[in-house]
């Protein structure tokens, strides 16, 4: 089954005439991703790699039965593009670019909080359901179909992990890079819920990072019994000096959460196997898969 996207998902690409759009759109299509249309204001009528370009999402939707969006517009224009896609009812919306102002994203999350839209990112490498569809920067050759779901806050580590698993002969159901920004549209917990419901997924690899509390929330979710499949985790940034802390608000808001140690401890208390090095992940996964 995979989660979120498969070979039937029909995408449009916002920002298709930019450098990233022109580089990635053809590569995704070649893998099999259904990209029916592109959107770039002022470029309506152009063609990119055989894909027709429109000025607005509304115009593209009037001509093509698209379900989902891949968003490759730069950070300053990201809120507009994501709102446009959400208002057109597209889902999932995969926001790949970095540089989106954090308040723009906070506003957008609030704005869409009662909406059914699934927003991945921003600053995400995208996601892949191997053998079916890729939306974003993940190199498809790093992956192969199989029973392991990947959720990751890091872009490159998403496919580095897939690559390590593939080298060990372990394929993936879906690999999702949720995005490296402090506020993103979809959390680890959101994706664990989907992987729990996906019969094809037998285990999940979770790649966290220092900062924020998303790993602690995932640990609490697992500990509460809402996710029952094996989880292997890695938390990047053990050697990263704690960001220069100034002011008291951070500590008052976050309490003792957010550090490498707090995340590893919370995950371990939830029964998650935490790898010290990324390269340890495949054997930890292999030991936990049904054979």
């Amino acid at each position: 089954m995979a989660i979120l996207i498969d070979e039937r998902t029909r995408f449009l690409v916002q920002g298709i005439t930019g450098r990233f759009g022109r580089h990635y759109a053809p590569r995704m299509r070649r893998y099999g991703t259904q990209i029916l249309a592109g959107v770039s204001p002022g470029h309506g009528g152009e063609i990119v790699d055989g894909i027709p370009v429109y000025n607005t999402v509304a115009d593209a939707r009037a001509h093509h039965p698209v379900d989902a969006a891949i968003v490759l517009v730069p950070g300053p224009a990201a809120q507009d593009a994501l709102l446009e896609a959400a208002q057109a009812g597209l889902s999932p919306i995969v926001a790949l670019m970095d540089g989106m102002p954090i308040q723009d994203m906070v506003w957008l999350r609030h704005r869409l909080r009662h909406s059914a839209t699934v927003l991945i990112g921003p600053n995400s490498p995208g996601l892949i359901s191997p053998g079916r569809s890729v939306a974003g920067f993940i190199p498809p050759q790093s992956c192969c179909p199989g029973p392991v779901g990947i959720v990751s806050r890091s872009g490159t580590l998403t496919y580095q992990t897939a690559h390590l698993l593939k080298a060990r002969g372990i394929g993936q159901s879906t690999a999702v890079g949720i995005g490296g920004d402090p506020v993103v549209g979809t959390s680890f917990v959101d994706l664990l819920q989907r992987f729990q419901a996906d019969p094809e997924t037998e285990a999940v690899v979770l790649i966290g990072e220092v900062g924020g509390t998303m790993e602690e929330e995932a640990a609490a979710f697992i500990r509460a019994g809402h996710f029952t499949k094996p989880v292997v985790a890695f938390v990047a940034g053990r050697s990263v000096p704690v960001g220069r802390r100034m002011g008291h608000a951070g500590a008052l808001v976050m309490g003792r959460r957010g550090t490498h140690a707090s995340k590893v401890a919370a995950l371990q208390e939830a029964g998650v196997a935490v790898a010290a090095l990324l390269t340890e992940i495949p054997s930890l996964v292999a030991a936990r898969l049904r054979t």
Binding site: P101, P139, Q160, H163, M214, E217, M246, H248
Partner: protein, 385 residues
Amino acid sequence: MWLTEHRAKSLCRDHGIAVPDGELAATPAGAAAAARRLGCPVVVKAQVAISGRGKLGGVRRAADPEAADQAAASLLGTRMDGQPVEAVRVESYLDHGDEFYLSIGLDPTQATPVALVSAQGGAEIEDRAGAWPDLLARLAISPVDGLRPYHGWQLVTQARIPAPVRAGVVQVLQAMYTLYRDLDALLVEINPLAVRADGEVVALDAKILVDDNALYRQPTLAQERRLSSAERRAAQVGIHYVPLEGDIGIVGTGAGMAMANMDQVTHFGGRPANFMDIGPGILRGGARVALEILLERPDLKAVLFSGYTAGPLERVARDILAALAAHPQRALPVVVRLQGHQDAEARALLAGASDPRLHLEADFDIAARKAVQLAQSHTVPPWPS
């Protein structure tokens, strides 16, 4: 981007929040002159964006201009918590009673701004709030609604701010939210907000953190940003460079990969000299600038350039060769591991260059271990200064 206390206070004043009169001084004589203009006693405060500045001796009271001169002389040119003290703020000392804590910040867990108010402010707020959580009133703010006067009244009521000064604190909270919103801030903190004998509330310290992603629409603040030339070069090509104190340079495709590289180097006994994220390698010249910045650092003993990307690795390889060619004298070993799109072509290009400084590896762990080994066995040759 952290604003200096001086800048933060001038913004507070522009938004109607009372602050002590103060001036910036870059020399002891300037501090003395400022003290004379302001009238003594004054407080001389190191303008560094660090926590616990007071405990580290960065805030000195001066009874007369000569004392201000001495306080400035003892602060200027030193480093506090790694940060150079390039200026001091000289400001009028104000007698006061109660000290409150106020902040508007981002709660990343709830993805919402959050306002915090305590009637017991000061440097020990964290410990006190840990011990007595009731001391801290907390309210999530809808970014659509903003912080309304009634939110302010809810906060001051819950925090048991004394009735006579509540209206004043509500006004300060609203001004802080306006600053937070209009500056694209991630934090606006006033600690302490002091109550004077006449009931006026005055911000004795102010900290503002602005979102770097939003600096494009904060042109005034962006101009004031202080970056080293290396940080500036990196920012110009859209890559992210943070220098650290180790000796192994790090380049990663993406922030997570850069961090994982640092973790591995540390794991194998090395010390990362920096964080460097070049993204997926799409940005023209990004890899070249990244490597050149590291080649130009005389304190490095090895570089680990390790990445995985669907970007054009051929171009990345050419960037690496161009950086090395631009620094032919720099005998710094560079371990390169590149995986992903065009990795075979990239490896062929690099191998074909036959640069003895280049060490190609295919395995993630082995590349990191190799960089550590090379750094340990490496004697840094003299660097032309």
